[in-house]
Subunit: 428 residues, 2 copies
């Protein structure tokens, strides 16, 4: 085969639709649900199976895996100059309890496909490329999410993350110990680093690209998000005998609070995103007045100032509506809106243009690990369409053509980046 | 010892405070919680332990245990004429998930204490006395409750009861099989019967007796109750990307419905009792719009006509508030108000008067197994005070003196009943 020139960007030609599709199918088996979705929550047995699968594929390609103290998994395609800061690319393998087959895992497999395409093209970059799968992006088992990328960007926060527990009282620390035992042949590495750049490929999780009949979203940034946990303490009582006037009914307080928040956050423009996704009741028995309720608040807005203003209303509304119960509000995460690196966004546009794939600029309404990588290196994201915007749902769907196009753009972006400054995207 | 005369009613003198207290302590160990309450849900391992303890006490007293196809446990003090319809007395051993040490179990142990007192008094009644523990009065694990007494009163309903499942999908039938295996030396008996009378002793579960400084409540009847299960079906979606205008948020629908029901059932006189004690969310993840919510409604009113009117509002309110979700309402149980047998209430008053124990007439706001026994024989209940009316709560409390007085009244009531028609309460 003829050795292509340094900037030929021919790697995209070697992206294989069949291979990518097969790998997506294989991954969808780990935690498969009856309705063709997946339940592969962070640090579960299914998550470990998915990670072991990545390690097996790495071995087939003679790529070196490693794992860090936060449970992130790396697969390294070594460049000719291993001392250079690597390009990092990937996403996450964990899913929501009733998640789809693409959210997260696509970004990891697109990265693997892009690296394999670069290798198949006979290209050996000077700069190394690392495929990454971040631990617990979803935050459904252990809240809040994006634990792995947060720890990578800020290793000082690791202790807090490790002590977080799931609904059964299992800590991240002990769940991770089991996963690391399962990955016993995978070398350990230090937490954190300073990559040259981070590129994450992901399904849009919204309807915009499909609506505009466009394949590639060049993500301009991520809308801000504040998450809270509200705990209401009342008093258990008999449903038939206790007078309602003296009850401390934690569920009725929760209903009033959520109703008031819903009214407060209702906007005609439908920009504010307010969700109560989790709510648990104690003792949760039909004839007992609830003694305690805990619920989550997920609040997002693209403008940081407005997000701040709205989020600051949570505590006063809880206080105003708590009635005879006690209420405590804990803010679990605060992430203001972020903007991705202009030079990387240009690089994505150029790659798409050269491949004649339509693209548009888009703001991410969902949070992603790229948010935290932006703190340590230039970062950006490539979106592909989500059918009807349906996501965090077993019915999530993206066409194979769109998935392949995303991987092709990624392959050429990686090639351009590895050739920057060191003209490294050369023939091996 | 001198043989007492047929109507001497001396059995109450043989009620032992120490023995009753010791047995309550022993029972409180089965399912003991950290906060000195109990979690001894129906047909659980803890419930089986409590039943085995009853069987051991029965053996010590040479009383014959038996169990029926509905999982009710009977302990028989054989009368001199075994062919006569027995007096049935007892309550239930199961508890709420965070229940107290007295609800139910007191009625069973008061019955055992009364029978032992009658025996210790040297009295051998002509009519047999059967101590009973009804299966699943509480209805927290398997809803609705009072399964054992309902099946006893209406054996045709047994199949429906046996096929009921708990939150983990375990059926009453399979849970009962395990309990019956545990009770392998206990003979089986037919379901149902026509007792001569049924007397149930129970804590009040309300504050009236304490407030009026009275020890014994002569229960006039039980207020009516209707229970429902409401299921709301929405659609899972991403909390950050899905527009609120197109969401089918099952939890927001539940909040609107419960809020509207609460407003509808609010009455200044505080007679209506409306409780949502159980609510579950799917998939119950912080960043996923809920796809489904199921919740319970417990609605009570002492007037049957008003209960009917209020309960009939549930479906229209659910329909009016469901928004873009689908809703289904299933009525799980309907029990109109009942009145207890006058002759038995007179008998309880006479016994309390003779013992110089203060009593008053009281309506039961809580449901009890006696409701269903009323369908097959004259039935009545004896209440003792509940401190501050706190119940279905680990802090439930009744003084030992009150507990003993309840057992003394019961002992003399049983003596009077066993001597009726057959002058049977005679010296052995």
């Amino acid at each position: 085969m003829t050795a292509p020139s340094a900037n030929s960007n021919h790697a995209s030609k070697y992206v294989s639709a069949g291979r990518l599709n097969r790998r997506l199918d294989v991954m969808a088996r780990y935690g498969a649900t009856e309705k063709r979705g997946v339940n592969r929550q962070a640090l579960s047995a299914e998550d470990l199976q998915a990670q072991l699968q990545m390690v097996r594929w790495a071995a087939e390609l003679e790529l070196r895996p490693s794992t860090d103290p936060a449970g992130n998994l790396f697969i390294r395609y070594e460049g000719t100059d291993p001392a250079l800061a690597p390009i990092l690319t990937g996403s996450h393998l964990d899913s929501q309890p009733t998640g789809g087959r693409f959210d997260g895992v696509y970004g990891v497999l697109a990265a693997l496909e892009a690296v394999e395409a670069i290798r198949d093209a006979g290209l050996r970059p000077q700069r190394s490329i690392e495929i990454v799968s971040w631990m617990n992006e979803e935050g459904s088992r252990f809240a809040p999410g994006m634990m792995g990328s947060r720890a990578y960007a800020n290793p000082d926060g690791l202790a807090d993350i490790l002590s977080t527990t799931d609904a059964d009282g299992v800590s991240v620390s002990s769940a991770l110990e089991i996963v690391h035992k399962g990955l016993r042949d995978v070398p350990h590495r230090m937490l954190g680093g300073r990559p040259y750049a981070y590129i994450e490929t992901h399904i849009e999780q919204g309807p915009e690209l499909e609506r505009q009949n466009t394949t590639i979203g060049v993500v301009s940034g991520i809308q801000g998000k504040r998450t809270f946990r509200v705990t209401i303490s009342g008093e258990a009582a008999h449903a038939g005998t206790s007078c309602r006037a003296v009850r401390k009914d934690a569920l009725m307080a929760a209903v009033r609070i959520i109703g008031a928040l819903d009214q407060q956050f209702d906007d005609k423009a439908d920009v504010v995103k307010f969700t109560v996704g989790r709510l648990t009741v104690e003792p949760n028995a039909p004839s007992v007045v609830p003694s305690a309720v805990t619920f989550s608040i997920d609040l997002r807005h693209p403008e940081s100032a407005e997000l701040t203003r709205l989020g600051d209303l949570v505590v006063p509304i809880c206080e105003a509506q708590k009635g005879p119960c006690a209420v405590s509000v804990k803010e679990l995460s605060t992430a203001m809106s972020v903007e991705f690196a202009h030079e990387l966004r240009n690089c994505i546009r150029r790659a798409a243009d050269q491949l004649k794939i339509a693209h548009l600029d888009i703001l991410s309404a969902a949070g992603h690990d790229a948010r935290y990588l932006g703190d340590v290196c230039p970062s950006a994201m490539i979106f592909v369409p989500s059918h009807q915007g349906i996501t965090h749902n077993e019915a999530e769907f993206t066409s194979l053509q769109d998935l392949v196009d995303g991987a092709r753009v990624l392959a050429d972006v990686l090639c351009e980046l590895t050739s920057q400054e060191a003209s490294s995207c050369r023939a091996s």
